[in-house]
């Protein structure tokens, strides 16, 4: 297993470099260092000298990928890409371009609010998805199954934004049950989490229930389920003990890869609910043309994705003895 993980990590290195390269290409295709300087220095009274000084002070006066006038390896190392991307490999994210804050510290601070909302959303969402999907499978062929599927299709057809605005309006404004938005520290944050978590769970419920229902329906028609029933096991035991365990491979494929991204937060959710998480951090950085933060977050995203894939592979071996690391 260890060899397998090491091999996967080694595979990841060119992927991560490629992602960084692509981020830099896309970013500097849209924004030149001059654009960044002007945006960061402000709208008024910005002179060419100030722009040049800013670029020099922040290391954006170099060519992006290739420095022709330099000698030897310096042609590649004396570039924005090399200088800014290399420290990322050891998770040195540096400081933001627009206000000089420590990005690593900011990520550490902001991941907790992101987790505070995404972890319960993920957990409750998964449990509810599986439970309702099994219920629909259990009551298959009844009007509950029919209307459950219809409702799931309707729910998955509605945009997340509608859930957010509608949820804030109904539960926050009309029924006045929860604060419409906001966040606090410690236990005081709980009252702010309920509404986004409820909305987050509801908005993904349609997709989840419909997907898992299909998985369970496929499973409960297999021979071993018939055997279990023939042994006289109750339908609940058949579903929750036997079918659920055997349906874990598609469930894990869907779920484990998402776990690392819980740190990343939810872009729209955090903005509408004023949650100071990493999703909001990323959106703000894109709007402010802060390359230092954008490249850090993209790098983190690629690492998390790779970690998610490795975790998924490992989890397969845990639930299915037939899967081996080879």
């Amino acid at each position: 297993m260890l060899t397998y993980i090491i091999r996967r990590i080694l595979y990841a290195i060119p992927i991560v470099i490629g992602v960084n390269l692509l981020t830099a290409v896309l970013f500097f295709y849209v924004n030149t260092p001059d654009d960044m300087a002007r945006k960061i220095l402000g709208e008024k009274n910005v002179t060419t000298a100030q722009v040049e000084n800013w670029k020099r002070d922040h290391g954006y006066n170099l060519p992006v990928f290739f420095n022709g006038p330099e000698e030897g390896t310096a042609k590649l190392t004396e570039t924005i890409f090399f200088k800014k991307s290399l420290p990322l490999l050891w998770f040195d994210f540096g400081r933001s371009d627009r206000n000089n804050i420590d990005i690593g510290g900011e990520i550490k601070t902001r991941m907790w609010p992101s987790l505070a909302i995404s972890l319960p959303m993920f957990t409750f969402g998964l449990v509810l998805d599986l439970f309702l999907a099994m219920m629909l499978a259990y009551y298959r062929g009844t009007y509950l199954d029919l209307w459950g599927v219809v409702l799931a299709v309707v729910m998955m057809s509605v945009s997340t934004l509608f859930y957010i605005i509608g949820g804030q309006f109904l539960l926050g404004k009309v029924l006045k049950l929860f604060p419409i938005s906001g966040f606090d520290t410690g236990m005081d944050s709980v009252k702010f989490l309920v509404l986004p978590v409820v909305i987050g769970v509801l908005s993904s419920l349609g997709v989840g229930v419909r997907f898992y229902r299909t998985v369970f329906l496929e499973e409960i028609n297999k021979d071993y389920v018939r055997t279990a029933r023939a042994k006289g096991l109750s339908e609940g035991a058949v579903l929750f003990k036997h079918a659920l365990k055997n349906a874990m491979i598609p469930v894990l494929t869907n779920v484990v890869v998402s776990i690392p991204f819980l740190f990343y937060g939810s872009l729209i959710m955090e903005r509408f609910f004023a949650i100071p998480g990493l999703g909001n951090f990323t959106i703000d950085a894109i709007q402010a043309q802060d390359f230092a933060i954008v490249r850090s977050m993209v790098y983190l995203g690629s690492i998390l994705y790779i970690v998610g894939l490795i975790l998924t592979d490992i989890s397969y071996t845990l639930v299915d003895p037939r899967v081996r690391f080879e």
Partner: protein
């Protein structure tokens, strides 16, 4: 409920299922009952301990980038900075036109002018005679800084928190986490240090290029500091070799430039409480800058305290934790969530103004005359980046004030038959008040005067631009796109600024006529505009060869309103037969086009730094051209007579003679029409009934100290407005549970029933 459960039990033919169901159903109903009977407000976003506190609650749209007064240059940043720092001057809260009054200094400085021979000149001397303007500033005695760890002293009298290492900062994340704090009196050195900081290349002050033009020797001084910085960096790079990482190195060992190594002749220290700023030219507008945060005092203790790598590593910098003498001090700086300012116990004595403009007393604005400031004990600003939640929380009473977005405009404001904006019934019922004020800004549509077809100064080109100015009906534009929140502009100078004339006198005669009966201007007819087009050589929008006149329109508009706005421009231009070609680009490309002059018509805006006509008319002088000098004259307008008059006007004090010159300048600009003058925006602000002493002040940013809140009234109204409605939830839960029962029963019967033969 019992009957219902019994009948279900009967129908199911067995009690077990219903017993299982009745427990959660009863639980839900019990919770509903408890919350309904409890009288609490579960949607309250604040802690219970905050109820009834004398705290002002508001929002901020985006985290402030900088709170270093040498660097901050946006209204979002000034909202916080101006409550903490005290520049030498401030604007009178109530008086209009805007009037400067002392803040931390004895009186508003009057410059002394000196000629080349060193002799003192009379105050009204022409700028060509003045070689030195000296502003002597006398700081008030007894003004104290807020308590701050930078002032904490050890047993030997040396700073307690210097040379900090990461291990010293365990458990410290904010300035307020330091146990020991101290204070000291404000001195002239603190103002001098801040002026030197403006020249520090590491700080990147946005106003340095402006002051380099005025403060004696500042340019040379800033160049010397730049050389010092480059030298230090070069030395460090040479020492570390190829692996040198400047960012990482300076994070750990910040560069501390020695400001006193070089002489700055534009600053003279007289004594602990007196200093002089020496300008190399006459510049009467300089006093306005003394009311801006760029001239806030910074104590050297704080400057050095914040230059510690261990603190910077924790993001504890002067850019995030200001240190001032103002009425408030930073209590919590969490720009991702909230910024809390607490009252500064060391704040010097200052009272609510005893006089205002006519009508202020009748409006109750002088009720607190002479009362000590500030009124609110704390200011809490919550980050709200989306308008819908922000608006709804204002309506629930959780924010004390709000602006009005287009989405909520119809909910809040209606127009009377006379065209006056007034609050809707729903707002009036809540006791909300509306305050409007014309902002010292202009949004205009400009022409590139360097362009061959639309620019130039011939009579034909003037008439072409005048015709377009008539066709672009900004009365209609304001109505459609701004909900009526604007005033059509006659010139660049907005109302409230010296040089703006009301009534017939202020009308732009090239676009408007005056209706004597209705006492208001009206736009010249389209027929007249078409006549101008014919005279310009474009009858029906076509040139001599019959080709249509095609004009490109550059803008960075990307919002929801952008397409209708662009269509409006196209439609209005089509009325003259002109084909408008839209060229919307992202803001970066737009700026690049403006810099290179690669455009014909564009949309832009300007927000004044200070209430003087010079700050608007300089947008049209040749020496400020965008293409030639990278200035703010984006139209690249250059009229020698206009430029000559500007040079005379800019150095004059407000007087009838100055007004006469401004009138002449406006007439030249209106005739040349380098801009379609567009509109001056009007800000609409809503305030809850528990707030008082509200008077919009577009120039002052330090207005929070004047605002008064009735916390008890707010607490009661919040409770009244926010009692929860739980019955819909109970009904939905009941429907879901009861709706599932028949299916459950049917499946149970099927499973438990005998197999069919």
């Amino acid at each position: 409920m019992v009957t219902l459960l019994n009948s279900l039990r009967k129908y199911a033919g067995g009690g077990a299922t219903i017993k299982r169901l009745s427990a959660p159903l009863g639980g839900v109903l019990l919770i509903v009952f408890l919350i309904l009977s409890g009288g609490c407000t579960p949607n309250d976003p604040y802690r219970a301990s905050e109820a009834g506190a004398n705290t002002f609650y508001s929002t901020f749209f985006e985290p402030p980038k900088h709170l270093d007064p040498a660097r901050a240059y946006s209204s979002e940043e000034y909202d916080f900075l101006a409550q903490i720092y005290e520049p030498p001057l401030q604007y009178h809260y109530l008086k209009r036109p805007y009037e400067l009054i002392p803040s931390t200094i004895e009186e508003v400085p009057v410059p002394a002018y000196y000629g080349r021979d060193g002799k003192r000149l009379p105050h009204d001397s022409g700028p060509e005679k003045v070689s030195k303007a000296v502003y002597e500033i006398r700081v008030k005695k007894g003004v104290l800084y807020q308590d701050h760890p930078a002032f904490a002293k050890g047993p030997t009298g040396s700073p307690l928190y210097m040379n900090l290492s990461p291990s010293d900062l365990k458990g410290i994340d904010e300035v307020s986490d330091f146990k020991v704090k101290g204070t000291r009196e404000l001195k002239s050195d603190d103002y001098i240090l801040e002026i030197m900081r403006l020249a520090d290349p590491e700080i990147e002050s946005p106003v340095l290029p402006i002051f380099e033009k005025y403060i004696l020797g500042l340019k040379e001084y800033s160049e010397a500091l730049r050389r010092d910085l480059d030298g230090i960096r070069k030395e460090r790079r040479a020492k570390a070799g190829l692996s040198y990482n400047q960012e990482a190195d300076e994070k750990e060992n910040p560069v501390i430039l020695d400001y006193r190594k070089h002489k700055l002749p534009g600053i003279e220290r007289v004594d602990d409480y007196t200093f002089r700023i020496i300008l190399k030219t006459k510049y009467p507008q300089f006093v306005y800058w003394l009311a801006m945060p760029f001239f806030s005092p910074i104590p050297e203790e704080a400057h050095l305290f914040y230059k510690q790598g261990a603190l910077a590593d924790k993001n504890i910098t002067i850019d995030r934790f200001p240190i001032g003498t103002g009425p408030y001090m930073m209590e919590t700086f969490n720009p991702n969530m909230e910024i809390v300012l607490a009252g500064n116990p060391n704040f010097h004595y200052e009272e609510f103004p005893k006089e205002g403009e006519a009508g202020d007393a009748q409006k109750g604005l002088l009720k607190d005359a002479g009362v000590r400031l500030p009124f609110a004990e704390r200011l809490v600003f919550k980050l709200e980046q989306e308008v819908i939640p922000r608006w709804n929380k204002f309506l629930q009473g959780y924010y004390d004030n709000s602006g009005i977005t287009s989405d909520s405009f119809d909910q809040a404001v209606s127009f009377s038959a006379a065209g006056e904006a007034e609050l809707t019934e729903a707002m009036k019922e809540k006791g909300i008040t509306l305050q409007t004020s014309v902002r010292p800004s202009i949004y205009y549509t400009g022409f590139n005067m360097l362009d061959e077809s639309i620019g130039g100064y011939s009579t034909e080109k003037q008439k072409l631009r005048q015709a377009i100015s008539i066709a672009l009906d900004f009365e209609e534009y304001i109505e459609i796109f701004n909900n009526g929140r604007g005033i059509p502009a006659m010139s660049p100078i907005p109302p409230g600024i010296f040089g703006h004339a009301e009534g017939e006198e202020g009308v732009n005669p090239y676009v408007y006529e005056w209706d004597d009966a209705k006492k208001r201007p009206f736009r010249k007819s389209l027929e007249y505009a078409r006549k101008l087009m014919r005279e310009a050589g474009y009858p029906n929008g076509r040139d001599k060869s019959g080709r249509p006149l095609v004009i490109t329109f550059d803008n960075p508009w990307t919002g929801a309103d952008s397409t209708p706005m662009i269509n409006w421009y196209i439609k209005r231009m089509r009325l003259l037969g002109i084909q408008l070609e839209n060229r919307t680009t992202d803001y970066n490309r737009f700026q690049e086009k403006m810099l290179k002059g690669n455009f014909q018509m564009f949309s832009w805006g300007w927000n004044a730094d200070y209430p003087d006509p010079e700050n608007f008319l300089f947008l049209l002088i040749g020496s400020n051209s965008k293409v030639k000098f990278q200035g703010e004259n984006v139209s690249n307008y250059s009229n020698p007579e206009f430029d000559r008059l500007f040079k005379v006007m800019e150095n004059m004090d407000n007087s009838p003679a100055r007004l006469k010159i401004i009138d002449e300048m406006l007439d030249i600009a209106q005739k040349d029409s380098p801009w379609v003058w567009g509109h001056h925006p009007v800000a609409f602000g809503l305030y809850h009934r528990w707030m008082s002493n509200i008077k919009p002040n577009s120039m002052a940013n330090n207005t929070m100290k004047y605002i008064k809140i009735d916390p008890e009234l707010r607490k009661n109204l919040r409770g009244e407005w926010n009692s929860p409605n739980l019955w819909p939830i109970a009904i939905i839960a009941a429907i879901l549970i009861l709706g599932s029962v028949p299916a459950i029963i049917s499946v149970r019967r099927k499973r438990l029933g005998k197999a069919k033969r």
